[in-house]
Amino acid sequence: MSFLAALSADADIVVAQNVFFAFIAIAMIYAALRVVTTSNVVHAALWLVLVLAGVAAQFILLGSEFVAVTQVLVYIGAVVVLFLFGVMLTRASLGDDESVAKEKRGMAAFVGLLLFAVMATALIDTFEDNRLVVEQPQSVSTVSDAIFSKHIVAFEAVSVLLLAALIGAIVVARKD
């Protein structure tokens, strides 16, 4: 039995999953850094596509296919496309954009670090050394049963919130 197979025999650790997690995570971190360091707005949005695709890939590694596909449909197919549409409609300059603010980067980095610290602390505090056991892919019916029974109030609240945001955007945009 090879070394990797011996590791796989330990039911809690899936070696291939961890290796690919590392690959995807490194690619995501690199792409995320490029999002904030490139001075071309369109390139930033395209790097963001890679980050979001990486998130979808991580969800697939965790067996949550439905969430992964939703990630692609909503974030890549809609949100980033709207970003790009807006950018191109207003300022479609090729090459580097000089007006991208550089002097506020220190502040932004500080806020980013702060956010990272808060989220990391919350995650580590909640799960401590629990292991997420992925025995089989999560089925769509599991997701829908959870949404429409246990989390129905949250689901309805979110949909009302989205509707309010939609109407609010129209009200703000229309001056008459």
């Binding site: 596509v49 692609v72 890549i76 809609a78 496309v81 549409f85 191109m88 409609l89 090729l94 769509v140």
Partner: protein, 345 residues
């Protein structure tokens, strides 16, 4: 079920290799057949001419000649173009098409993946092609291309909603998103207790079918929805600066997407590989199924090209109004009615 046994003996990477090969072949061969039958021949007959006749019998090798021509051409990059984005754009569009075919089943075992996400996965994958069109429009550093890219994006976003909402009606009625199970649901369905013909959803979801076809026409940017590639005003929009191999990729993408979308529509509304009289899970359907699917694809794509060469172009405001004020409310009403009927019966 022999196909399953055969595949089970192969390693995962071998199965994947076979699936990739068959997927590429099925998309490209169908796209080539559609170009020859519809674009070269059917349209020519409508216009009282013969179409290509020289290369091969009845011009059947014309397409190979065209491909050869495009491969030989120089791959030109505009001087100010964003080289990487410009070069990558056709790959994004083509990848979206080739990944979409993955969800289409052509027989009880003749399928690429048997995922319960099925059509949802397909819709997500097909929504990525907008990104490639935006990349092409912006990366060309050409104002016509940029305008074409923006028009295409506005149109694709508007018509993606009725497309998805039309599918929801089918998913509610079938009770599953799995494409193969949607076929079984139609094959085992009954029309007022008469089950010999099954129940293809074109009968009960006729409204959704019409909405799906219209939205499909717009997603493919075929006339009357060809505002983004209007050759007389935008010089084919986002494709203006492309030449040679990369232009060929956009061209293949256009017809391959037409074929794959028609395959999706025939699974959702026309009963997929099912023909009345043969059990849908019989072994023989692994051979007959792809042929049945091919006939349905040819019929549906003929509708697309018939419309394309018959209708004049929509104006931009008419196009948006049709999507937002007519198709989307109609699709939502269809969902409500389907939901109510599903609960009552």
């Amino acid at each position: 079920m022999n196909a399953t046994l055969l595949l089970a003996e192969l390693a995962y990477w071998q199965q994947t290799g076979i699936r990739v090969g068959i997927g590429l072949a099925s998309v490209l061969l169908v796209a080539g057949a559609l170009v020859y039958m519809h674009l070269f021949k059917a349209v020519s007959f409508m216009q009282s001419r013969l179409g290509p006749m020289e290369a091969g019998p009845y011009g059947s090798l014309q397409l190979l000649a065209e491909v050869g021509k495009h491969i030989q051409k120089e791959d030109i990059f505009p001087r100010n173009a964003d080289r990487f984005v410009f070069a990558a754009a056709p790959f994004v569009v083509l990848a979206s098409t080739f990944l979409l075919v993955v969800v289409v089943p052509a027989g009880p075992d003749a399928l690429f993946i048997n995922s319960e996400l099925g059509i949802y996965l397909g819709l997500a994958v097909s929504s990525v092609s907008v990104l490639g069109i935006l990349m092409a429009g912006w990366g060309s550093s050409n104002k016509y291309s940029l305008l074409g890219g923006l028009r295409a994006t506005g149109q694709l976003i508007a018509y993606e909603l009725p497309l998805i909402l039309a599918v929801v009606g089918v998913v509610i009625q079938a009770g599953t998103m799995n494409m193969a199970d949607i076929v079984y649901a139609q094959a085992n369905g009954e029309i007022f207790g008469f089950g010999a013909l099954g129940n293809p959803y074109i009968l009960t979801q006729g409204v959704a079918f019409v909405i799906f076809l219209i939205a499909m026409q717009a997603e493919l940017a075929q006339a009357p929805f060809d505002m983004p590639v209007a050759e007389s005003e935008l010089v084919t929009g986002y494709m203006t600066e492309y030449s040679g191999m990369r232009f060929l990729m956009f061209f293949i993408g256009e017809f391959a997407t037409a074929g794959v979308f028609a395959a999706v529509a025939s699974v959702l509304f026309l009963g997929g590989w099912y023909v009345p009289g043969i059990a849908p899970d019989a072994d023989i359907m692994n051979v007959l199924g792809p042929l049945v699917m091919l006939v349905k694809i040819v019929v549906l794509t003929f509708l697309i090209f018939w419309t394309r060469f018959t209708m004049p172009r929509f104006r931009e405001d008419q196009l948006q109004r049709l999507a937002w004020k007519f198709l989307i409310p109609l699709a939502l009403a269809n969902i409500v009615v389907t939901g109510v009927l599903k609960v009552t019966f």
